[in-house]
Symmetry: C2
Subunit: 226 residues, 2 copies
Amino acid sequence: LIEIEDLSKLYQMGDETLKALDDVSLSVNKGDFVAIIGPSGSGKSTLMNMLGCLDVPSKGNYWLDGQKVNKMSDNQLAEIRNQKIGFIFQGFNLLPKLTAFENVELPLIYRKVPGKERKELALASLEKVGLADRVHHRPIELSGGQQQRVAVARALVGNPPILLADEPTGALDTKTGNEVLELMHHLNEQGHTIVLITHDLDIAKRAKRIIRIQDGKLFEDGGDFL
Amino acid sequence: LIEIEDLSKLYQMGDETLKALDDVSLSVNKGDFVAIIGPSGSGKSTLMNMLGCLDVPSKGNYWLDGQKVNKMSDNQLAEIRNQKIGFIFQGFNLLPKLTAFENVELPLIYRKVPGKERKELALASLEKVGLADRVHHRPIELSGGQQQRVAVARALVGNPPILLADEPTGALDTKTGNEVLELMHHLNEQGHTIVLITHDLDIAKRAKRIIRIQDGKLFEDGGDFL
Ligand SMILES: Nc1ncnc2c1ncn2[C@@H]1O[C@H](COP(=O)(O)OP(=O)(O)OP(=O)(O)O)[C@@H](O)[C@H]1O
Ligand SMILES: Nc1ncnc2c1ncn2[C@@H]1O[C@H](COP(=O)(O)OP(=O)(O)OP(=O)(O)O)[C@@H](O)[C@H]1O
Ligand SMILES: [Mg+2]
Ligand SMILES: [Mg+2]
């Protein structure tokens, strides 16, 4: 399903070159549940941006569902993102002027799902994350953890085949966090593919595979790290 | 040092009234290290906004260092915030157009600290959080955890008598998180007063007192919650 080969991402800062990802190769099969764990600044979010076709690599190859991504147009990439991938961003990325309901409804509008069905799916998704009573709140009228839960509801509303989640429980207490992880497990049991980024080993252990990342390099072994 | 009496904060949402804080009373002495722990949406950040004079209560009294806060003008409140309180916000609140260095320097500019001394203090503070090599990066050129560490460095740069920290290690891996907590311990040993908000019991246990919050109400006992 996902195949990356010798992929690097470099950032130019003045006369310095920073290597956020350094020749990484990774393959993820359909139905996999992969955790990526590593320290702050190790390249986790940068890798997610590559997997999610949100940013372009400096070098290397990427095949998604058998199609070569680096050769696609912006429109084709937008189509793939919209149809195949649900995102939970580390910074939530909610639209500030929209309510919780409108934020969750948004991916369904892009998919041209009719109004009545959109409303049912969006409300059901907000209910699953315990926010049925905050539907009309805008992001600034929600707590940090509630905003994160809206972001989770938005990612899950379209039942995406691939879910990319960047620290999806970072702003949640243990109990609420576990409820979110349960939703992800449930999605994986239904055959969806999940890539979960975290710096918390207890969370990473819930996945089927654990990949370590350090200074932009990937290690997939039982490793002493764990 | 901090004395709150029967303080409530209400939000009006259409025809509904939401009680974020419900008749809370709390006193914090100089040199205290208090943790406030509670589930998502329980009122932790709202309480911090009250303690930090960032928002006004709907009812109740608040004395800071013997002075009644509800009777102060905006200028007086800004002066108190600037001289007495360092903030670490849950959403970091970094200024996007400024570099890491400029963000950390900002509180010292408000205090009219001369340029040369500002530069030394800001660089030292960034070094303490492990970001000496990211000084000229703007927030979007930093990882989530690095942004949080800039927010910590900014709060500590002026050596504030009171530190209000809202989930200061939420975006950090265990090792980096512990380094931040060590900095706070060190500040507390020097006599500074710390109020630390968290939903993680392991972190709350590092404080001298633990206060639980649930649906806007405070409980300070050994309690079954812990
Ligand atoms: N501006 C607002 N308008 C309406 N309701 C609000 C507003 N700000 C906060 N709330 C509500 O007040 C309650 C308390 O929010 P607060 O941000 O204090 O929670 P918290 O304990 O910090 O949660 P978290 O751990 O998720 O950050 C929440 O239920 C939230 O929905
Ligand atoms: N736009 C950019 N310009 C320059 N450097 C960048 C940029 N974006 C990220 N970086 C750097 O790339 C490295 C990897 O960042 P990334 O956001 O992938 O880390 P991360 O593993 O997600 O960390 P965290 O756990 O703190 O979120 C960091 O050292 C960061 O400073
Ligand atoms: Mg990240
Ligand atoms: Mg909060």
